[in-house]
């Protein structure tokens, strides 16, 4: 496998614009793209790295690039592991010693090899021995101190339910608009597409009223229903269903299949590619949704991850550690979706122009 692939790979890596070597504009292009990689991924990578730093290390200035932790050793006669320091001894030599305790500016140190002899040194004469280590406490305390799983569940519930409802509602409407011939069809289509002109931010106040009158304030359904019908979804699915052959539907009708059965058993499975594209978008829209949840969900037990992150940015002034961990966990699902479906998403957007 590897040997079969390697000529192709070498060819791929050394391919140029046909002149045999890289033109200076090629170097410029690759330089620009490299800069792009650093500036697009850099900030995210930095946050991920920092989320694995201990609270004490997060306070350091200037910050170190990688997460470090102090090395500890187990010394005979002491049940707890002791922190290791590099100590400059009075005679000028340097030794690695474990610290027993610290009293004021004095620290009691022992040599791990000879634990009986306790040496007192000035705290200024020692510095911690550090090694690369991932502090996971930002993540573990997130689960203990905050209702992380509740927010996660709220987000997952809203995202999954809203996506399913949206796919069902939009595909039904799209089928009617694509394959039926009835009076008023064009009017319905225009009314549907016209809602593209009305961005959700403009009708914020009355939507709040409608949601509250329906008794849906502080309920996930108050976020799910207002976004369940989308002009983009109806349009995308209708365009796809127009390409399905009418003969298929006619044949099913000959066999006495009901309209509902035709939609469910024939049209939906055939529209699966378009449904998949729309599902990816719907998941991204809903997972990242902010303004509507912000006005509908005001009780913290109903918060989605986005709302929780927003509310904690004020409360957790000193707890950047937890906030960073939560940020990483929130961007993780989208990053995974992106990693696996990058090709579909980018080509889907390039052809449909939706976001």
């Amino acid at each position: 496998m590897a040997s079969a692939a390697s000529p192709g790979l070498v060819d791929f890596l050394t391919r140029t614009r046909g002149r045999g070597r890289l033109h200076w504009t090629d170097w410029l292009a690759y330089g620009y793209l490299l800069l792009g990689v650093v500036s697009m991924f850099g900030p995210v990578v930095w946050v991920v790295l920092c989320s694995f730093k201990s609270e004490a290390q997060l306070m350091e200035f200037p910050p170190s690039a990688l997460p470090y932790g102090q090395v500890t050793v187990t010394v005979a006669g002491h049940p707890e592991p002791l922190p290791l320091f590099r100590v400059r001894l009075p005679d000028g030599s340097v030794a690695e010693m474990a610290q027993l305790r610290r009293i004021g500016i004095q620290a009691q140190m022992v040599d791990p090899a000879a634990p009986e002899r306790v040496i007192r040194v000035d705290v200024a004469a020692r510095e911690p021995v550090r090694a690369l280590s991932l502090a996971t406490e930002n993540y573990t305390t997130l689960f203990e101190r905050f209702h992380f799983f509740r927010y996660l569940w709220n987000s997952v519930f809203i995202t999954v339910t809203a996506t399913l409802v949206m796919l069902l509602v939009n595909s039904m409407a799209a089928y009617a608009l694509a394959k039926y011939d009835f009076r008023g069809r064009d009017l319905v289509f225009v009314l549907t597409i016209a809602t593209l002109l009305i961005p959700p931010t403009v009708v914020l106040v009355p939507v709040f009223l409608v949601v509250s009158e329906l008794g849906l304030l502080n309920s996930p359904w108050g976020v799910i229903w207002p976004g369940a019908a989308t002009p983009t979804g109806v349009f995308l699915l209708r365009q796809y269903m127009l390409t399905l052959p009418d003969e298929l539907i006619d044949a099913a009708r000959m066999d006495n299949a009901s309209e509902w059965k035709i939609y469910w058993r024939i049209v939906l499975p055939l529209a699966a590619p378009a449904l998949a594209v729309l599902a990816i978008f719907a998941v991204m829209w809903r997972w990242n949704d902010f303004l509507l949840p912000l006005i509908v969900l005001s009780r913290s037990e109903q918060f989605t991850l986005q709302l929780a992150l927003n509310s904690f940015k004020g409360e957790m002034h000193t707890q950047w550690g937890n906030l960073l961990a939560m940020t990483v966990l929130t961007l993780l699902p989208i990053t995974l979706v992106f990693g696996f479906l990058q090709r579909y998403i980018t080509s889907g957007i390039a052809t449909t122009g939706i976001k």
Partner: protein
């Protein structure tokens, strides 16, 4: 199919009443059954709110229910538009509204201008015969998928007083800067972060536009020994113009509605230096006490008017790009 079996059975359960319904209303009118849920949701959550928006904008008081609100005519609009000098927000009775309006204008001009410029450069680079084009295309697109809250928190962490940016400044012998406490700098970063988060989307569309330019035009130009610069300015850019127009108007429409990332990054601050129009509506109608729904609705109708103009511009641009 077998994994979908429970779903299938569920739908088959619905089938019997659906068949009965179909017998009553006929095959062709069954289309309305398919349309119904969609129409009801649009009606209740889009068209009804549009009508209600006018009701709110022309009534006053603090009540939520429209029936309990006294009619005030155009008072809300009048107070929003009441200014002695329209170029100086501090002379307006709702000075915050005007500050938000001015900020939005400044933000949109800077953000759209620089974002389209960077998107165009990136698209041009990606249009070359680049190794791993798919990968690089994905790189620029990645931030588009991140939620605005996550984007804002990532940059808040970088820009904070003891953040990595200040660490670099100190390492090069400078003084740390309070990026988000200074009006000028925080406006700069709001524009920067918003470009960072959205440029990948516009890059993709411009790239699709570039790849739609027929190759034989370039071949003809090469026959005539045209310089690369000449090919860019005489072929690529003119032929890209229609796509460009669509992208600019789309970016304008999105830019005017920017809220989430700025709200989390700066909260509109310091003071009201980075407060945009949507945040003004949110603050007036929901965050501030008392909640002035009427004023917020009037402001959102003014915003709707602005967006309507931009959308008409887009439809016009779209038609132009179809004609080529």
């Amino acid at each position: 199919m077998s994994r979908l079996a429970p779903l299938q059975r569920l739908a088959d359960l619905v089938d019997r009443p659906m068949v009965a319904l179909q017998r009553r209303i006929g095959q062709n009118r069954f289309a309305w059954v398919f349309l119904l849920p969609n129409l009801v949701i649009f009606g209740v959550f889009t068209y009804l709110p549009i009508a209600l928006n006018f009701v709110y904008a022309t009534t006053g008081g603090l009540a939520v229910l429209p029936t309990e609100r006294p009619f005030v005519g155009f008072e809300n609009f009048a107070s929003l538009l009441d200014c002695r000098d329209y170029l100086d927000p501090s002379t307006c009775s709702k000075d915050l509204f005007w500050r938000a309006l001015f900020n939005t204008g400044r933000f949109v001009l800077l953000q759209v201008g620089f974002m389209i410029l960077f998107s165009l450069i990136t698209a041009l680079v990606l249009d070359r015969e680049i190794k791993g084009r798919g990968f690089f295309r994905g790189v620029f697109f990645y931030p588009v998928l991140l939620s605005p809250v996550v984007v804002a928190l990532i940059w808040k962490w970088i820009l904070q007083r003891e953040g990595v940016l200040n660490a670099w400044i100190v390492a090069f012998g400078g003084e740390p800067i309070l990026w988000l406490m200074d009006a000028g700098w925080s406006f700069f970063w709001v524009v920067f972060v918003s470009i960072w988060a959205h440029m990948g989307f516009y890059t993709l569309i411009l790239l699709a536009g570039l790849q739609a330019i027929p190759k034989d035009v370039y071949e003809a130009a090469e026959m005539d020994a045209a310089s690369p610069w000449r090919k860019l300015t005489r072929i690529t850019l003119p032929l890209l113009m229609p796509t460009m127009l669509v992208v600019v108007v789309l970016a304008l429409i999105k830019g005017v509605q920017t809220f989430d990332e700025i709200y989390v990054l700066t909260g509109g601050g310091p003071g009201s230096a980075t407060m945009l129009i949507v945040q003004y509506i949110y603050e007036t109608g929901f965050a501030a006490q008392p909640r002035l729904y009427g004023l917020a609705a009037a402001a959102s109708l003014l915003l709707a008017g602005l967006l309507m103009v931009l959308t008409l511009l887009q439809l016009w641009a779209n038609r132009k790009s179809y004609r080529g």
